[in-house]
């Protein structure tokens, strides 16, 4: 259960990025999470609700996009999506796949914000 640590980092980063938009309110936070990243979406959602309380993110929606695991096969040269996390093999030729190109992501992709009506002019 390290989802709370992960979500706390998300909240911190989003608050930092809000500095450029004074008075803005967060509507949505979009994450990209690799299928091989060892986090559970339900836990992320649960922790998000707790961790956003009394912050500018309170009430915002968390959207989690799961990124599939893609491997590059050194035997046949093809790239492909791993069929099962229990077998790291090339989906085309069946050889063992050691080169994982995608699927470990833990990223904040974007946030959707509602800006203050009268932006502060500088």
């Amino acid at each position: 259960m390290h989802e709370l640590s992960i979500i706390s980092s998300v909240v911190e980063s989003v608050i930092d990025s809000l500095a450029a938009y004074p008075g803005a309110r967060v509507i949505e936070v979009r994450l990209r999470v690799g299928a091989l990243s060892a986090v559970v979406e339900d836990s992320l959602q649960f922790c998000f609700e707790l961790a956003t309380r009394d912050t500018p993110l309170e009430g915002s929606k968390l959207v989690v996009k799961i990124v599939p695991v893609m491997v590059h096969c050194t035997a046949c040269g093809a790239d492909g999506e791993l069929e099962s996390l229990q077998s790291f093999r090339c989906p085309h030729c069946g050889e063992p796949a050691t080169d994982v190109r995608q699927g470990r992501e833990l990223e904040i992709e974007a946030i959707e914000i509602e800006e203050a009506e009268e932006p502060v002019r500088t």
Binding site: M1, H2, S5, I6, S9, V10, S13, V14, S17, Y21, I27, L31, L36, S37, A38, V39, L85, Q86, S87, F88, R89, P96, A97, T98, V100, R104, L106, E107, I108, E109, A110, I111, E112, I113, E114, E115, E117
Partner: protein
Amino acid sequence: MTTRIVELRQGILKKNDELARDLRQRFTSAGVLVLNLVSSPGTGKTAFLERTLRDLRQRGARVAALVGDLETDNDARRLAASGAPVRQINTHGICHLEAEMVGKHLADWHGVDIAALDYLFIENVGNLVCPSSYDLGEKIRVALLSVTEGEDKPLKYPTLFNSADAAVITKMDIAEAVGFERDTALHNIREIRPGIRIFETSAKTGSGMEEWLDFLAAARENQSREATSVVG
């Protein structure tokens, strides 16, 4: 009210990753090989590490260990019997170690200078899920599995086993008594991490330790060679 999409595209664990990268640079230039040991609770990480520290010291190597646990300094006290400097990191409920904890415990570790070490071992909190997301700046991540745990554990925890650079099977001295299916276990580890080096060890009898220590020595030499070629 106007809404706007702000693209961030940043790593959630960016702070940890940056700290880990700095630590890795420091370790490499100090010439110390750093290993991060990860397993379930009860695999025998501490017994394996105790034996590794003792055997390495007998070979004349300079070693130290950081030991992560939620609470207590029992493991640190146990490991200190090897004669090596050992420091406990208590996470107080956090299920994994983070680069910041490692950096902090190295910074104020009296009497221990990483530049005067050959090997530094970091024993992670017993957990096969959470530690996999946190880079500690190690050169080698070691996943440990004991013969009592079930041969399908690598399949249940692919994220951790796939992120490992070496695997160690512990408690081989009781393998027969507990009906350990060796071939299945080796197959499952390789199915998750093709080509990984696997060491079959017993901290009690010392079997498999020679091969493990030779691997460590070779890895350390490799690291030094890489560091020199980067500078040159």
